[in-house]
Subunit: 331 residues, 2 copies
């Protein structure tokens, strides 16, 4: 970890400040449960429905928290982000609400619907050839040429603090339900959501252990947490969890994760499809594959949670209808 | 309308009392919107996600509000309800939470999953032959024999007031979003939800017009409101909206509806399937056919809402996976 990253480690103060900043701008998503599902599993399972967050994923929280901290000049110059997925929509939607110009760098072969949605939020989309060009380089060049601010997807104190507001809500909602959380399991890619939430729970519910959930084919967090070093995924790794394929843990997020996380779990694509079907039938939630990874950890019995109270985050719902239909048919 | 019904008409006081009684016992379901969908429709659409209420529909509110008003002796003697659908689950789940014995009278040919779910909430299920026996008579006999209290599905002041708490939440949530509601559209069967919400909005947002939504094949409310008399549906009427097939408006609910409702709209099964698909793609909600009727009214342009702000209730999510897959495939 570089010293510059260390100096940027956010704390609970930044998460609390984000919650104040975001109040009224984000959906206070519910923490729901199914008595029937609880009885089947022999535990109490609370599900944070971030699928209902603006743009269909938690990413809006961190993006909005970052944008709200730009000064007037920075707002006029605009923001730039590279993403083909939920971060792109989070940044574009937050920028639109604040009247900030946004440029999103997306691969030219991204699904047309994702490009259209990002443009639908008023963003300018710059397409690149993912085989011959570097999105980081294009993003940096745009940032330099236009004076635009880069909004990183996870390795950024403002973004981590914004995602952590979901953790503050979970702690308060669990308390209101009379539930004492033994564990929280969170889908992980770069690590902004899980480490932000871990900051929140360390302060608000210190007895709660926080774990990562990711695909077996891209289990960099599980291995990195076990080894104490940031380890990369096989670049050829494939999983149905398209939102969970960051190459390796971030510098800032891993520094936080080493201190705050209890460990990691990995699930198969089949277990993820099963979790999507359970979320449909028992919780009435539309969850995308990556968003269902933490639920899959509990349903597949990867975590020993019998008679315990466990919360999971359903982190996103941007799933193609064919994938969803496949989950319903196979499960 | 009988005088006994007139004397039982609930008012805003009962709805407010229900909100106090239910606080912490119900899910405060979110009121969500999609900026992309709003842009496509040329209006602002706010969707109350009662699909996420306990048992997957709004019915839990009214059932819990009724049960909480039973005295100790009544609680010990238990409750009885007849329903093959969402009301059964609402009563069973509320009774279980309060430790009250519940008997649910269901048709012997009800789907096995619905019988299993109702038993899963701890209720005793009494099956009857829907072609040869009267569920009302069976329910009344059980109530007499065991001294159990009948919990009606809609024509009951306690039930209406409980459902109306959704309307209080909508008014407060719309205000927090800076939205001034021009209209609220609510799926209607017996009328408990729509009239309870109309009571709430008449007090909290008096400029909001409240409308019913129902299937074209069972448009008793639209016709009854237009004629000023309670009119029945054709008993042979069929619709994909299995939750919206009550034979005619209730006495109490129609008395309230005449005073408080602005009119009714009806939608086709195809329009309902389309609404289920939009709820999936744009709102990440699992909505059952009857629960999607109000959304369908807006999407199909049945109500002239251009440039206006309209709320709809997505009232339930208990949909068979085959029906849901059909909606995704056809839309």
């Amino acid at each position: 970890m570089t010293s510059s990253a260390a100096s940027e480690l956010p704390g609970i103060g930044e998460v609390r400040a984000a919650a104040v900043r975001l109040a009224g701008r984000i959906v206070a998503t519910p923490l729901i449960e199914s008595p029937l599902l609880n009885a089947r599993l022999g535990l109490r399972l609370l599900v944070k429905a971030e699928t209902l967050q603006r743009t269909g994923s938690f990413k809006f929280r961190g993006a909005m928290n970052a944008l709200l901290q730009l000064d007037e000049g920075q707002r006029r110059a605009g923001v730039v982000a590279f993403s083909s997925g939920n971060h792109a929509q989070g940044v574009a939607a937050a920028a639109q609400l604040l009247g900030i110009p946004a440029i999103i760098v997306m691969p030219a072969d991204a699904p047309a619907i994702k490009v259209a949605n990002t443009r639908g939020y008023g963003a300018e989309v710059v397409l690149y050839d993912r085989w011959r060009e570097s999105r980081e380089a294009i993003g940096a060049r745009i940032a330099t040429e236009r004076g635009a601010s880069l909004v990183p997807p996870f390795d950024d104190a403002r973004v981590i603090a914004g995602q952590g507001t979901a953790g503050l809500e979970i702690a308060a909602q669990a308390k209101a339900l009379g539930a004492s959380l033994d564990a929280l399991v969170v889908p992980v890619s770069g690590g902004g959501l899980v480490t932000g939430c871990a900051l929140a729970l360390a302060a608000e519910s210190p007895a709660t252990k926080v774990y990562t959930a990711e695909p077996e084919a891209a289990d960099d967090w599980r291995r990195s947490l076990a080894s104490g070093h940031r380890l990369a995924n096989d670049p050829a790794a494939r999983s149905i969890c398209d939102a969970l394929l960051a190459p390796m843990p971030g510098e800032i997020t891993f520094a936080l994760g080493q201190r705050l996380l209890a460990g990691g779990f990995a699930v198969s694509d089949a277990e993820v499809l099963q979790a999507i079907a359970v979320a449909f039938a028992d919780l009435k939630l539309v969850v995308e594959p990556g968003g269902a990874a933490a639920l899959a950890v509990v349903l597949a019995g990867k975590i020993d949670a019998r008679s315990k109270t466990v919360a999971v985050i359903a982190s996103g719902g941007n799933v193609d209808r064919n994938v969803f239909a496949r989950a319903l048919a196979e499960a």
